[in-house]
Subunit: 146 residues, 2 copies
Amino acid sequence: MKNSLYIVIVGCGRLGSDLANRLSRIGHSVVVIDTNEDTFNDLSSDFSGFRIVGDATELAVLKEAKLKNADVFFATTHGDNVNLMVAQVARKLFNVPHVLARVFDPRREQVYNRLGIETICPTSVAAEMFLLAVASGRAAQGEAKS
Amino acid sequence: MKNSLYIVIVGCGRLGSDLANRLSRIGHSVVVIDTNEDTFNDLSSDFSGFRIVGDATELAVLKEAKLKNADVFFATTHGDNVNLMVAQVARKLFNVPHVLARVFDPRREQVYNRLGIETICPTSVAAEMFLLAVASGRAAQGEAKS
């Protein structure tokens, strides 16, 4: 991969804004899309990317984001269906090579994966971490004492 | 740690029910607490633990769950404040040695940790996974192709 990537992020909630800030800070070109302009308040003052107010399920908005030039596409809204839809469009219509989507319902992960979209499921990840804590006893009394 | 643990889980949503099913399956004694009885429908047919319909912010409910005998306590509701409160009670009043809480707002993690409660933040974890995908290029074209 190139050192500096062109990254389009849909959704500027906690996850989207955190990713945008951190990726911008390490030198990537970032475009963030959200329907709600207020969410851009979570972008840090040193965020050097672009903000687009709009609905990413509309092709015109994705074109405005120059999605065909993107190296990476992240779908991070709170709606699994929106994430699935825009991720598919990014993958199939704009041929973005790396497409990742957040999906809250673990049962939808398989559907995404069959469609060639990589998914990250916070619910599944959290479950694994809780189980790991039980298995390894890493939340030991010593660490957790008051 | 003992092989078979006594584990109390507050919240029987996707995360809580997944944990309850998996921990029960591997032989732990599990008690699940939720205010909404319908959530117990997500427990699998082989779940051998106990279900308590009640508000875990009430001491009587936690006593009913025999929290003082618990080895592990998980707070997995969708409310960060509820998770913080019940986790504190489990730690301070019932002396549960291992207390873990889900917290959606990463900014609250520090507060929890200062109070001796280990936290798992799905938002932070998801962010790390997205960043890792960018860094390693694991969402490579080969994997993601249609």
